[in-house]
């Protein structure tokens, strides 16, 4: 079945959803997005994602051409038009058709892509490649994925699944997800320099019931010495990371605390959505 997207006020079949090539998101990478999943027609943590989309837009000086209520209606309609058990929605806002090709236009271009997706296997341990890099404007969910896509070739050579960014010896995040270290009964995650993930936020909320939780600076060294390591995001929930740069983390296998948090998260997600 052909997908239906939303673009600047219209619901359109995927193949008709087009922007002029002078859009500032395309020509100058000036734009933001957010992404969330819908399960059996129900958007998951929708309000969190809309809050963050709003915040990204604000930081970038872009205006979302729809009220919160209109956004909810667009999302509901896209879910109706794209009936998949697992649907991913990507909201994108760009600098529009800039008069001088550089400064954002008065009017942004706004679209929503709707595609079925699959979760990453929560039992398959991932292999991360460490990369010295600080993502620009880390708090903004921007369109900039230049470096991790550039590094795909190197990553594949190493047999790695994703990157782990660090700078000055401190880790921040992966290319599209947050990172948590488990050491003893403590759960540790970076406090700065990364995107504030929605999954991350909810894990911090409920993990406190059973673990000590620390949001602070996390060194690459202690990450390599972790008992368990996992990564979180809207397409992943919680997925173990079992190797960095070909070195095993902990036992080199998905660990019990990661597995337990994953089970807890499934319950939490159902209860709160």
């Amino acid at each position: 079945m052909a997908a239906t997207f939303f673009l600047n006020g219209e619901f359109l079949p995927e193949e008709q959803a087009k922007l002029n090539i002078t859009d500032l998101g395309l020509l100058r990478a000036y734009g933001i997005f957010d992404f969330f999943r819908c399960i059996d027609g129900k958007p998951i943590f929708q309000e969190d994602h809309l809050d963050r989309f709003n915040r990204s837009a604000e930081l970038m000086g872009l205006n979302i051409p729809a009220s919160r209520e209109q956004l909810r209606e667009i999302i509901a309609e896209l879910i109706r038009l794209n009936p998949h058990a697992l649907l991913g929605l990507k909201l994108v806002l760009t600098g529009g058709y800039s008069p001088d090709g550089f400064a954002p236009a008065e009017q942004s271009n706004f679209f929503v892509i709707a595609k079925p997706f699959e979760f990453k296997d929560p039992e398959k341990g991932l292999h991360f490649m460490s990369v010295e890099h600080q993502r620009q404007l880390a708090e903004v969910k921007s369109l900039d994925y230049l470096l991790p896509i550039y590094l795909l070739r190197k990553q594949r050579e190493m047999g790695a699944d994703d990157v782990l960014y660090y700078e000055n010896g401190l880790i921040t995040e992966s290319s599209r997800s947050n990172v948590f270290v488990v050491k003893g009964d403590t759960l540790i995650t970076p406090a700065e320099g990364m995107l504030r993930g929605i999954t991350r936020k909810h894990i911090l909320n409920f993990a406190q019931r059973e673990l000590k939780v620390e949001e602070r600076e996390v060194t690459l060294e202690e990450t390599l010495q972790a008992d368990e390591l996992f990564t979180t995001g809207s397409t992943k929930r919680i997925v173990p990371v079992t190797k960095i740069d070909n070195r095993p983390i902990g036992s080199g296998q998905p660990g019990p605390i990661t597995r337990q948090l994953y089970e807890r998260f499934l319950t939490y997600e159902k209860e709160t959505n």
Copy 2:
């Protein structure tokens, strides 16, 4: 007169030149470009720009879907279809319609935008705002202008015209141009960490006739202490920079060596194109 662009094999009126919103240049900022000017129908330093476009594509693992000879023909046709005394051509190559929304597609999207443009006034001294930043993949002319566009609001508040990037006390470049320091009879420009500008290259070629020329590390401190400072690029040729962060450079006025190089460059450009 409506502009005519080139897009994936076709010459199209501007308003029909559209890409699907799933293009990887738009969704993930994965793409490159090059830009050059045509004066009275004659492309300026065309082969240099095509060499660099080729190099950027190679570094990013993208394939240009046209031979060098085909590119020359497309350019010639666009010049014919867009008869302006001063025409800017922008060649853009993106990661195409990625099957997984992240890894570049087999086939890139390729387009060329043709627009009339105006030179910056070579007598108006510019005001730069210094910004600690290292552009990612500095040798690639990528689509990533996230930071300088984000900083436009701050720049306007300060009354500045553009940014000057530095890192660890060393300057690299401005947002869309290279930078040269004049100190006594020596012309100095950064050797690393910046895009290898075509104008920069030609100035280094011919300036050696009359000045000592140094390509090396350049500190922000010695930039602030310069006798003269100027910036170079395809939309600028050579334009003086007379202030950084509201502090005057040298006399705070366009200097004699900058003016002389500009005159020499006009002659050089005519002779070599």
